[in-house]
Symmetry: C2
Subunit: 196 residues, 2 copies
């Protein structure tokens, strides 16, 4: 077997934003660090294989339903629709949103051939029918695809009387939700505008 240091540098340098020199520094940092920390990191990576989708909200989780969907302190009558699981992490870091989530796993894109059937939209509709929420927040990136997906969902849900809102476009247009700073994201959350 290859030298684990070379092996580690080779693997780390294939991660996004990490070049060979950063990978080398990280590898030697890991070698000097506490073995308990290393084992924790190694096992967390190995355990990613246990992760699957929550049958309620479609986020990634190691138990089903996920921690948010089974929480007694969350407001289950407010559903925040996001593109991908990592968007939940961005919003949770605000510590201000108390509702639950629904992950679409993508955005509509005629150019890339992504149609409503490719996203978890049917699951969202079924869930709304069963749970009768009081509010739906569309927290999708203010891009062409995010706008198209939001418009599609507003149309699909037009039969319901609950308010549907989108995040205020305090978010820079054309940018990705994932890279927004917390203040901008927080303001956008507060000033969300009703669209349906």
């Amino acid at each position: 077997m290859a030298n684990p240091i070379n092996e580690l540098i080779e693997h780390l340098s294939r991660l996004p934003g990490i070049g060979e020199r950063t990978a080398t520094r990280l590898a030697f940092h890991l070698m000097r660090s506490n073995p308990v920390f290393r084992e924790g990191l190694s096992s967390a990576i190995a355990r990613l294989s246990e992760v699957h989708l929550c049958t309620v909200c479609s986020t990634v989780t190691d138990r089903d339903p996920c921690a948010i969907c089974t929480s007694h302190v969350r407001k289950h009558e407010v559903i925040c629709v996001v593109e991908k699981p990592s968007d939940i992490y961005s919003i949770e870091r605000l510590h201000s949103y108390q509702g639950v989530y629904h992950v679409l796993h993508g955005l509509l894109s005629p150019l890339e051939g992504i149609a409503p059937g490719d996203l978890r939209i049917a699951q969202l509709q079924k869930r709304i029918q069963e749970e009768a929420p009081k509010e739906v927040i569309l927290a999708l990136s203010p891009t062409l695809e995010g706008d198209a997906t939001s418009a599609f969902l507003v149309k699909q849900l037009s039969a319901y009387s609950f308010p549907i809102s989108r995040l205020a476009s305090g978010l820079a247009i054309g940018s990705n939700l994932e890279f927004a700073d917390q203040i901008t994201l927080g303001k956008a959350f507060e000033a969300r505008t009703r669209v349906g």
Copy 2:
């Protein structure tokens, strides 16, 4: 057990230069990546515990003596002295040095109380006595500690007739060898100046 994603984000964000948002992006990247790649990364981190020091050159290795010390294509009569194992990686990346190495595991520092006995200097002297090299290159950072260590070694080895050189100070003064770009490091290697 905690959710492996949260666990992984928590661990990654404790690595140098990686904040919580970068850790989140890396964690979700790993979750989407090939399970074979993840297993390779996880096992390389776990296998760091198997790494120990080469009894010849004191670098970190999973076999003893290390791959460089046992190589038939390296020039064993040229010894390059470095501060730490990762410096070997910086120099190897040049693909121009053909000799072997000796790792001191630190630099002399009266301020931090690091004396010659704390470094692998005795091992270097013993090795030089036994191997009778034709050249010794001191590839230490051009800092106060690097200069002091080089001066000390030059004095210690003054009884020998082989040339002792230091890397040319094309390296920015006060900087760390680890952060030098390859061209600067390569030029510094070529234009090393004899000091003993």
